[in-house]
């Protein structure tokens, strides 16, 4: 008897918890969409935020470059290693170059760059804006005749949207170079065949769809992270919570939106 009520309570509690989570998620999505609309509508209004945009581009772009490049190089290298091992079983090792090039440009370059930027830039945006929120700096902006969405969020969203594709160009390049290095210098593939195969099946479309994806990832990461920073409350603990949420939500959004963009674009 007590056992069954306990189980029922557990089930009810579970359903409640699930409902609360879903409700919170829907609220967040709505808030992020509203934020997107605000960003777009304040984009063109004066004063121009170009200086802040450039500053953010440096923050998102140049400072994320090392981590993105290292990730891309090793991804290309391990990809070559794995495909080589697999393709050897049916004597298709000459296609390793094509597989590396296609996987990197279409999928792994943008997605890994997106994930790394989620962790690095998403966390710093959420923490910075969250701290500004809990120390009333955002309220102070408002009293100084400044729209905080325009001053703080627009530059971050614009910078991330522009810079992420640029990062991905370099990531693609180094990923392919990494794959070449492993295949040619460690696996003993013929360098001419490898390069020829890399070019043979690679289309321009593979590259630019990857860059479009990267751009969308950049926008989503910045929007989500800024949103979580802006709604932070409750001191240092609240900022910590906002940062965690920002990183988790933006990494998940990168992977989810990646699937849907891939299914629409190819």
């Amino acid at each position: 008897m007590t056992d069954s009520t306990a189980r029922k309570n557990g089930a009810v509690r579970l359903a409640e918890l699930l409902g609360e989570r879903v409700y919170a998620m829907v609220l967040d999505l709505g808030a992020i969409f509203t934020l997107f609309v605000q960003v777009v509508s304040s984009l063109v209004r004066p004063p121009s935020e170009i200086r802040n945009i450039v500053k953010q581009m440096e923050e998102v772009g140049i400072r994320s470059m090392p981590v993105v490049l290292v990730t891309a190089t090793f991804t290309g290298m391990v990809l070559a290693l794995q495909s080589y091992a697999g393709f050897q079983r049916f004597g298709a090792t000459s296609f390793v170059g094509s597989v590396v090039a296609l996987s990197i440009t279409r999928e792994l370059g943008p997605v890994f760059a997106g994930l790394m930027v989620s962790g690095r830039v998403g966390a710093s945006m959420a923490a910075e804006l969250g701290t500004m929120k809990v120390t009333e700096q955002i309220d102070a902006l408002v009293t100084l005749a400044t729209n905080p969405v325009k001053y703080l969020i627009v530059p971050r969203v614009v910078a991330a949207t522009i810079v992420l594709p640029v990062l991905v160009v370099f990531a693609d390049l180094l990923g392919i170079v990494g794959g070449y290095f492993v295949s040619v210098h460690l696996m003993g593939a013929n360098p001419y065949v490898y390069v020829a195969k890399t070019y043979q099946y690679l289309e321009f479309k593979d590259i630019y769809t990857g860059l479009v994806k990267a751009s969308v990832f950049g926008m989503l990461i910045a929007l989500i992270s800024c949103h979580h920073g802006f709604v932070a409350e409750g001191g240092a603990e609240g900022v910590g919570r906002a940062t965690t949420r920002a990183v988790v939500a933006s990494s998940m959004m990168v992977l989810i939106s990646d699937y849907f963009m891939t299914s629409f674009m190819f």
Binding site: P47, D139, T143, L144, A145, T146
Partner: protein, 258 residues
Amino acid sequence: MIAIRNLSKAFGKKVVLDGLELTVPKGKNTVVIGGSGTGKSVLIKCAVGLLRPEAGEIRIDGHDITRMDERELVRVRRRFGMLFQGAALFDSMDVGENVAFVLRRLKMYPERQIREVVEEKLSMVGLRDIQRLMPAELSGGMKKRVGLARAIASEPDILLYDEPTTGLDPIMADVINDLIISLRETIGATSITITHDMASAYKIADQIAMLYKGKIIETGTPEEIRTTSNPVVAQFVQGRAHGPITDESEEFVRFVSR
């Protein structure tokens, strides 16, 4: 003049302001006193349009800011300067950039004049040669003074002070009190100060209003408040642990623990 009529604000089910009435005369310093968590901050955040009240009106020279859209609010906010409790300096910028923020934003002066204007505002709060320091390098009292310099940079005619002396030593608190008085005299601003520091309230106020349970329960000159016959106000201004304010919560505590 600022006239607040029937102002109500709630967060969820928690009613913070409940039909508050307050008239803030022009060129005078009105001090709102009240315990922690009674909604003093909410009151001035409504006044500057940071929070939207559920009901009531806040008229600034006849214009009701609770009904304004964002664009009109931006224009009206140029008349406001606000000193935040923790100073709320932008910690990514140095002192000079903090004070110059609104001047650059609204392009009030040509760039080459800005340093001089900033130096002048800083000297009004008794600070010199600190434009290059970062907020993290300043003491609590200096932060508040820089915050004050930033608040008066655009020459507002309404100043809002959110607990200006909280967290300062008594001497620095009195320096801030003197600054508030001198600013009222030099720039003739209308101001609202919220505080629970009675020494400061008596010193800077032309008018004191007591906020209790979402309403202003008494308004008067410092002398009238000091000698009030209202038991709630008397308990607060004399800082007694026993009286009508705490009796009620003690009953509540007894009720809960029963």
